[in-house]
């Protein structure tokens, strides 16, 4: 919980109105982003993303599974987020359950598309090995280690970095005699396929404080928000998902305005992330 005095609240609100926030940023500037990949060697892919004092880890594990009968040509992806009590004492015990569920669902909405899997940021059909029989199940786990606002954007960035760090083993399927039999699979432990992340969107959250909206809000700024809109946008500039949080109503014209601003910001964020991820990958190769 953020305890702020009346003066501090005024200071934050006034700063945002004058386009000069408490930490010296402009309204549409992100905090410095730091990416580290391969932090969990046991996983297929992992990454740690820091945005100021916000620190999250994302981890991808691939397991062989069966595609669901309704979509035999698609693999499965599940996203779970956990908030560690190290981030905030109130997350102790079951204290973080609500926030974890909110973040998990928001990420699913932003990255996986609807129930049919159409329009998903992650290409589900690339995960199928034998149609209707064998596919990869991707488990994406996020962990919030330290929280200072803007968790959704940070988690989205971490998942993107973890996916580009993910190597999925090549699988050889022995041709089975009859179509009813279970196919035999042989997982290669040498050949890995790089996961294609060109379609993975970034998430931009615009937080409305007073009459203006800001990106990458700290927890102090989030405590002053009236509402926030999280928009996930891919490389082509298409919107992949949208979530509105907070109680206050928004004028539809403002939402449209926010989306066009988010689209502009997402291009910068995407470029920044791309360069950070490739720098992190290069660092990892050196070790």
């Amino acid at each position: 919980m953020v305890g702020l005095s009346v003066g501090e609240k005024r200071f934050i609100q006034g700063g945002i109105a004058q386009d000069l926030r408490s930490d010296g940023r402009k309204r549409l500037t992100y905090r410095p982003i730091y990416v580290e990949t391969g932090v969990i060697p046991q996983a297929n892919g992992s990454a740690r993303v820091k945005m100021g004092a916000t620190d999250v880890i994302a981890c991808v594990k691939a397991e062989l599974g069966r595609p669901s009968p309704l979509q035999p040509d698609k693999g499965k992806v599940a996203i779970f987020v956990d908030c560690s009590p190290t981030a905030e004492p109130t997350f102790e015990g079951r204290g973080a359950e609500e926030l974890s569920a909110e973040l998990s669902v928001a990420l699913q909405r932003c990255l996986l598309g609807g129930r049919s899997g159409a329009g998903a940021g992650i290409d589900l059909s690339s995960l199928v090995i034998t149609e209707g029989k064998v596919c990869w199940d991707l488990y994406i786990d996020g962990l919030v280690v330290s929280s200072d606002g803007n968790l959704l954007d940070a988690l989205g960035a971490a998942i993107m970095a973890a996916l580009s760090n993910t190597g999925i083993p090549r699988v050889l399927v022995a041709a089975s005699a009859s179509p009813d039999e279970e196919p035999e699979v042989d997982i290669s432990d040498e050949e890995y396929l790089q996961f294609d992340t060109s379609g993975v969107p970034v998430i931009v959250t615009l937080t409305k404080v007073g009459r203006h909206y800001i990106v990458d809000a700290t927890s102090e700024e989030e405590s002053q928000m009236s509402s926030a809109v999280s928009i996930s946008i891919n490389r082509q500039g298409h919107i992949c998902g949208l979530t509105k949080r907070g109680g206050a109503g928004l004028d539809p014209s403002i939402i449209v305005d926010m989306i066009s601003v988010a689209k502009h910001v997402s291009e910068q964020l995407m470029n920044k992330l791309d360069s950070e991820i490739s720098a992190a990958e290069a660092d990892e190769d050196e070790l």
Partner: protein
């Protein structure tokens, strides 16, 4: 299964009395009052300390000493096979209790009455010896938070497989079913604060294994002291002393 080959090397290439590589970093969680990352080989743990602060639950407040609380949690991806465990299962409840009791023994709680200290440990990777790694991380985090302590607490485990005493078991050695002795000591006062063992072991061998674990604890203590001194030096430089 052969855990020590005829040349005296273990599965991961260590000698019987060799420890895994230690790595520690202070200040991993910027919002906490004190925090640290501690790595023993592939085992990686983050600890964060909040406090001393106002007691959240008034009924638990004590007028003569501080309330120490601890929660241990494991990340979903920390183990080799991914599993989703409910929070507060028996193993983590027991571990929280062990860590709390061990840390409580070394904190000068009587100096901070009416207050509460929270210790949160989060396992990022588990490869044997999480208990020890958690205690070592918690010590560093408490020191970083500037909480008065009698001494550092350091912990290390040792086991006995293939007629050899082994220091600092990894996951494969730990799950072999042999005895696993976890020891926690106060290195300056030379006192044992934590001692746990499963499986059976003859008395004289137990003495040996315990001695080995204590040596391990002392090595960890030396490392932790170095890290703390290095950190203090850096703080000094930043203040311009």
């Amino acid at each position: 299964m052969e855990f020590v080959n005829p040349e005296g090397l273990r599965l991961d290439g260590r000698r019987a009395m060799e420890m895994r590589q230690l790595r520690a970093q202070i200040g991993a969680v910027s919002k906490a009052d004190g925090s640290a990352v501690f790595e023993m080989g592939n085992t990686k743990v983050i600890a964060a300390v909040y406090g001393p602060r106002e007691v959240q639950n008034r009924s638990q407040q004590m007028s003569d000493q501080a309330l120490v609380r601890c929660e241990y949690s494991m990340a979903n991806f920390s183990t080799g096979d991914r599993m989703r465990k409910p929070k507060g299962d028996r193993r983590s409840t027991e571990l929280s209790l062990v860590i709390r009791q061990t840390m409580e023994a070394c904190i000068l709680t009587h100096l901070m009455p009416h207050s509460q200290i929270d210790i949160f440990v989060q396992v990022l990777q588990a490869d044997g010896g999480t208990r020890s790694a958690c205690i070592n991380a918690a010590t560093l985090a408490l020191a970083d938070a500037g909480i008065p302590m009698r001494d550092l607490v350091t912990s290390c485990s040792a086991g006995y497989l293939n007629n050899t005493s082994l220091l600092d078991l990894n996951y494969v050695e730990d799950s072999a079913g042999g005895p696993d002795v976890t020891v926690g000591i106060l290195p300056t006062l030379d006192k044992v604060t934590l001692l746990q063992m499963d499986a059976k072991l003859p008395m004289d061998i137990f003495e040996n294994v315990m001695q080995l674990a204590i040596e391990g604890c002392k090595a960890v203590a030396n490392y932790i002291r170095e890290v703390l001194q290095e950190n203090t030096k850096q703080l000094e430089v930043r203040r311009g002393v």
